[in-house]
């Protein structure tokens, strides 16, 4: 439903989005992952025709967003939570949007109920918490009951209960056959919510695959082995049909539990200095994938 082709955005000499191509299928949740500043929001704004690409195209259902006949009935979007005039009430904010696309006012109350904001609908949004702003943004996205939904960091500022709600909500939207494209910088959250992943770093595509695929490639059971007799151990393990790799610390054996490696060493009389199981978390795998692309490294990383 969403097709991004060779999309590039330059600000002066800085390249925010670099020759990015991917497509988002309907009936599933597609996660859009990348560190802060990797170009996720810029890409989403370009899909919605808010920012103009330097080159390349972005279409929804085969046409650019600006050609939509009733944009809010075709595509719903949650951009930054603070895309709201603080002096207007939540109810009036939604009404101005509804009127623009001839959506009945009754629908405003429906979406307010949907996100649990009925109580505060008549309050001005300037006093809203970040979480309430997010809920209002989700309500605005759902206003036209659209087929295609884009959410930029929807769980930002939500409490745990809100996060679970958004997760369930996104899954149910996809189950209804809608196209759901959701950005996040949290891998763990996407592993629970998304079916497909598009990973970017510094505006470039790093990976596009299903979540299951990502998990199975990145969370393999591994065992680290240190031994003075690395060559013999390597041969022994390979002989058993195991995959072995060497790094500066020793050997890494894939898809095996440490017990079995220990037994094999014992049987072959190989001295062990270390035998430790390793399980990389998805977050680590994601960080590994985008390591060179993180825009802002934290102090801890620098101190290492």
């Amino acid at each position: 439903m969403i097709d991004v082709t060779n999309l590039t955005k330059r600000y002066g000499t800085k390249v925010a989005v670099n020759d990015l191509s991917f497509s988002v299928a309907r009936g599933s949740v597609t996660g859009f992952l990348g560190p802060n500043g990797s170009g996720k929001s810029t890409t989403m704004r370009m899909i919605l025709g808010l920012d103009h690409p330097t080159s390349g195209t972005a279409t929804i259902g085969g046409k650019p967003y600006r050609d939509a006949r009733w944009p809010l009935r075709e595509v719903g979007a949650l951009l930054e939570a603070r895309s709201i005039h603080p002096g207007r009430t939540a109810y009036n904010h939604l009404r101005t949007l509804a009127v623009a696309n001839r959506i009945p006012t009754s629908r405003v109350n429906e979406v307010l109920r949907l996100v649990g904001l009925e109580e505060t609908a008549k309050k001005r949004t300037g006093g809203f918490s970040l979480g309430m702003g997010q809920r209002l943004g989700i309500a605005a996205a759902m206003l036209g009951d659209p087929e295609v939904l884009l959410f930029d960091e929807p769980v930002n500022g939500l409490d745990p209960e809100g996060i679970v709600w958004v997760r369930t909500f996104l899954r149910s939207l996809a189950a209804e056959g809608r196209t759901v494209f959701v950005s996040s910088h949290l891998m763990a959250e996407m592993a629970l919510t998304a079916d497909h992943l598009i990973v970017i770093g510094q505006g470039r595509l790093k990976a596009a695959m299903s979540v299951d695929e990502f998990i199975s490639t990145n969370s393999r059971q591994r065992v680290r082995v240190r031994t003075p007799d690395a060559d013999r151990l390597s041969a022994t393990l390979s002989g058993e049909g195991l995959q072995v790799a060497a790094d500066e610390h020793g050997l890494i054996v894939y898809d095996v539990v440490s017990d079995r490696v220990g037994e094999l060493c014992s049987a072959s009389n190989i001295t062990l200095h270390e035998l430790s199981p390793m399980v990389a978390s998805l977050e680590e795998a994601f960080m590994e994938l985008t390591r060179d692309d993180v825009e802002y490294h934290g102090q801890i990383e620098d101190a290492r």
């Binding site: 895309s83 696309n101 209960e161």
Partner: protein, 295 residues
Amino acid sequence: MTTNLLPPPPAPSARTIPAGSYSLLDAIKAEWMKFRTVRSSLWCLGIFTIIMVGFSALFCAVTVNQWGKHPEDVFGFDPLTASLAGVTMGSLAIGVLGVMVVSAEYSTGSIRATFAAIPHRSTVMLAKVLVLATVLFITAAVAELIAFFLGQAILSTGHAATLIGQFPATHIGKPPTVSLGSHGVLAGLLATDCYLTTLAIVTLGLGILIRHTAGAISAFVGVLFPLFLIVALLPTTFKDHLQKFLPLEIQQTVVVSKPVVSATSMSMWHGVIAMALYAVVLVGAGIFFAVRRDA
């Protein structure tokens, strides 16, 4: 906020997307709703009306009180101009309103929600122009009429006077007043209404171009006042050619019931047309850039 567990979202209703597409009319309805659902617009209109009425009362009362004491205030006295003494200060409130209609959306980011609903930015901006022009034309008409009737009522309380210090002593009678039917009054009121309305559109154009509230207001106040002072300092040959194009100078020829006869100023309706041209140029330039810039 209460954290009651939220119900699962209902299945989507049978979606029926109506035929056709959004139109300028939909954009106008949305802009009108936006206009009347924030307090700042109502504040600006209220302050504008209070200035118009208050200055009229003040100026006319002072006129009545001082009548005959200063000959220069008597000759060329225009009762309509006196009762519309609030136009200059009222212009400030209108300018702020015109700027805010668009800059508030850019500064809060809500312009993205607007463009998401109506991606054709020229349609959005045109709707803003039409809504603001209509609101301003009606509000200014009401404010002018209140100011006019109040001002004339105050002027009519004046007493006949004799010009002091003149020889022979000149009887100048009571301060003159005009009624709606007097020659040039309706024309002057209408031209003033048009002047204020086009001024609002000029500032809206500034808002679209500059996008920041403070910057656009500074530009507006900078054009309206300091430019006037700078031109006034120029040598006469330049000044006579340039001065008549300044909004404040146009105002002098518009807010009158007796035409200003001067070789260096425009006529009343030429002044209004000049203001309309400024509005068209600024809004046109604003739309040109708004369509091309990132929101």
